[in-house]
């Protein structure tokens, strides 16, 4: 029983990380039709920068701020100076982001080395909470809380604010949006930055339990892709529920059938592709 609850908790908290990544990926794709292959790199870089800051300042908060700030700036620069040149062209954008994926991966290897590391948990969440005779690491609960808060925040942004309306307008019809005075160019940069921010946040939040190591960028990118394939690219709901699903599947899969690794994720992905290729909530 404890086993199942622990795995459930682990799966959900990991799912929240995936949600953060998938949400960013979806937002960026939804508005700009860019599939950001460097998204996993943002995750990794955020975690590594956070790691360094925590070593020097002992503060998780500073680490989080620094990690997300650095990556957000990087994302904005990438969009402004590189991706902007190939509007709506899938292949050149894929190639560019691929290139950055490799550059960042190697840079990280060079700067931080090849040993797997973990981000230390913030002091306040170091302890566990006992409910009955089940132990809940409070940090994992914190991650879930952050995920839900971010989810609600993004939902409010999308549905309840002018900015969200502009994003939705830009997604539906860019020309019309421009015509009604929306600064699509600024909006694109802002959304890309937001996506990068979310990915870096995921990296920092995940640092304590997923770890920080070369290859984490590929792994998380792949899982994020599976999430958007299942949930639907461009859909916030899809990112959330898809993230939860994949997080749970990945966790239970690793715990119960370790040798079958990616198979537990492959099967639902294949089913979705066979039945509903645009994903559960996708419209694009």
């Amino acid at each position: 029983m404890t086993f199942w609850i622990t795995q459930l908790l682990n799966g959900v908290s990991f799912g929240m990380l995936l949600f953060l990544l998938a949400a960013g990926l979806s937002l960026i794709y939804g508005l700009m039709r860019i599939l950001n292959l460097a998204h996993g790199s943002y995750y990794l870089l955020g975690a590594y920068v956070g790691l360094t800051v925590v070593r020097y300042t002992e503060s998780f908060v500073y680490a989080a701020v620094a990690g997300t700030a650095v990556v957000t700036v990087l994302g904005i620069l990438m969009e402004r100076f590189f991706l902007r040149r190939f509007p709506k062209q899938a292949l050149p954008q894929a190639l560019l982001t691929f290139g950055f994926l490799f550059i960042i991966a190697d840079l990280a290897l060079w700067i931080w080395g090849g040993n797997p590391q973990t981000l230390p948990k913030p002091q306040v969440f170091a302890a566990s909470i006992w409910v009955g005779n089940i132990v809940f690491p409070s940090y994992r609960l914190f991650v879930i809380a952050v995920g839900i808060i971010v989810g609600l925040g993004l939902w409010w942004l999308q549905e309840g604010t002018r900015l969200g309306a502009m994003i939705r307008a830009g997604v539906d019809d860019e020309e019309m949006a421009r015509g009604t005075g929306v600064n699509v160019s600024l909006l694109s940069t802002a959304v890309f930055g937001l996506g990068a921010f979310l990915a870096a946040l995921g990296g920092i939040m995940g640092g304590p339990f997923v770890g920080v190591y070369p290859g984490a960028d590929f792994e998380i990118l792949l899982l994020a892709f599976v999430v958007v394939i299942i949930g639907g690219l461009g859909s916030l709901k899809g990112a959330f529920f898809g993230g939860l699903l994949v997080g749970l599947l990945d966790n239970f899969g690793k715990a119960l059938f370790p040798e079958l690794a990616l198979f537990t994720i492959f099967a639902p992905m294949a089913i979705i592709l066979a039945v509903r290729p645009t994903g559960l909530f996708g419209r694009l």
């Binding site: 490799f102 792949l222 892709f225 394939i229 040798e259 066979a274 290729p277």
Partner: protein, 311 residues
């Protein structure tokens, strides 16, 4: 036209004579270039001609390489069984993956081909008892064809690979310039229009996908024999990405371009790896530079300089 025939004849002559002048190391490098050229050309068929951005082409290369290796090491070292089995595996995997991936377009297709290849990678990495996991499968023997020259010797092996390279080049060229190949180009240019004209677009894409898988498998087979060792890295995203770069760098949709691109990338990797460990970063930089400044690749640049007579 004459210029082109002359250039081809010259290249062929060079490739035939070259073992006599190259060192063992250089010849080995050339063999690697030829094998990867087959891989790149196979990807060009779907990427350059049909416009399908596959990011998981390593899957068929690796599947074949592993099949040949496993059979040769564990079951029976018989070329006439192992080699076709490798090809069959590549065709089988591409037939399966094609069914799934071709239900999607553009960005979804990109993601799915990547994800599917990663599944294979995960199996190779995780199923240690079968594949040796991260350690891979060493000691794959060269095939014994019953010829007076042993393929364990470098010069006979060179010609062995050269023959397959020439075969692949000719076959792919015919396919690309056949009525079928023309349809692929039309699909790349405007898929809906092709449907409205009456073409069963899905079927063309599917067949192209499988053919590309077949030739990638051919490259994988040869590589297993060449390298004597297979590991999950040949099913990895990095390898798929290298293939992609070879195609783009050389010039997508030209066949010769990707073959050239393969040669350049293999050469660069070898040279640069001597001086620095940062090959991955340099690869990334090449990616960015090529996309920004030479999107039509080397062949595209050559055409701009010398006109279309040469290429």
């Amino acid at each position: 036209m004459k210029t082109r025939i002359l250039a081809i004849a010259l290249a062929a002559a060079i490739l035939l004579i070259v073992p006599t002048v190259l060192s063992a190391y250089q010849l080995s490098l050339l063999v690697k270039m030829l094998i990867f050229a087959i891989f790149a050309m196979s990807l060009d068929l779907i990427l350059g001609f049909a416009g399908l951005p596959s990011l998981g082409h390593a899957a068929y290369f690796g599947a074949a390489a592993y099949t040949v290796s496993l059979l040769a090491l564990r079951v029976v070292n018989n070329f006439w069984i192992d080699f076709p089995a490798g090809l069959l595996m590549a065709v089988g995997v591409s037939a399966l993956f094609g069914l799934l991936a071709l239900r999607t377009h553009e960005s979804y297709f990109l993601m799915i081909t990547l994800a599917l290849a990663q599944v294979l990678w995960g199996i190779a990495f995780g199923w240690r008892s079968l594949t040796g996991g991260d350690d891979g499968l060493p000691g794959v023997p060269r095939p014994n064809l019953g010829l007076p020259w042993s393929l364990a010797d470098r010069i006979p092996f060179y010609y062995f690979v050269l023959i397959f390279f020439a075969l692949a080049l000719v076959l792919l060229w015919i396919i690309a310039h056949s009525p079928f190949g023309r349809v692929l180009v039309g699909i790349r240019e405007n898929e809906v229009r092709m449907k409205v004209l009456g073409y069963n677009v899905w079927l063309y894409k599917y067949v192209a996908f499988i053919l590309a898988g077949l030739f990638a498998g051919l490259a994988g087979n040869l590589f297993a024999y060449y390298n004597g060792f297979v590991s999950p890295s040949y099913l990895s995203v990095l390898f798929s990405a290298s293939g992609l770069l070879m195609v783009i760098l050389g010039g997508a949709g030209t066949l010769f371009g990707p073959a050239l691109g393969a040669g350049v990338i293999v050469y660069l990797e070898n040279v640069i790896s001597v001086y620095t460990e940062r090959w991955l970063m340099i690869l990334g930089v090449i990616y960015v530079l090529v996309t920004l400044f030479a999107p039509r690749g080397l062949v595209g640049l050559l055409r701009e300089r010398f006109g279309s007579r040469l290429a």
